[in-house]
Symmetry: C2
Subunit: 104 residues, 2 copies
């Protein structure tokens, strides 16, 4: 899907890590939420409240999910999921464009 139609976009950006990770919140008619974001090269850790599906539209990174000990290489066109009430660490190697879906 190249476009999201009939959605609500929150104007103000979500800004993390001094702007090296930023996103915009997209609200859907069915009450679901996604964020469209950009990560610049760097290391980041995030906590999850809900289960998250991270679709990598372009870029290159490694991710360490929850209590796992194994980093997973991810590139554009690939995705990964993070359980609810968990966390994930990312080592972003190339500017990464992503779509994060919050799954309830």
């Amino acid at each position: 899907m190249d476009e999201f139609k009939g959605v609500t976009v929150v104007r103000k950006a979500n800004v993390y890590f001094e702007g090296k990770v930023t996103s915009r919140t997209i609200l859907f008619e069915d009450g679901s939420k996604k964020t469209l974001g950009i990560m610049l090269p760097g290391e980041y850790e995030f906590n999850t409240e809900y289960k998250e599906l991270m679709e990598i539209l372009s870029g290159e990174l490694e991710v360490l999910i929850g209590g796992n000990s194994e980093w997973k290489a991810i590139k554009g066109g690939e995705s990964f999921e993070v359980p609810e009430k968990s966390k994930f660490r990312m080592n972003v190697m190339k500017v990464t464009d992503y779509c994060c879906s919050f799954l309830k």
Copy 2:
């Protein structure tokens, strides 16, 4: 206006200057277009095709518009316009969240 309702969002980001300037395209029912973007500190130059209204939601920058010789300081809550078929240079001092409207 804190949200844009009933709009279409292009999923893929617009990426400039190695990701230091990025934006998402928002399409409105009346055919108009805006981008919601983030600029990290740095110096950037852009050309305009259409007249642009740059609303700075947060951040701090200086802008030099078209053939002007005088830089103008702009901060969150302020805005500036750039004529069509012109250009503008920005010196961004703080992470800047903006909304750019393309005016025809």
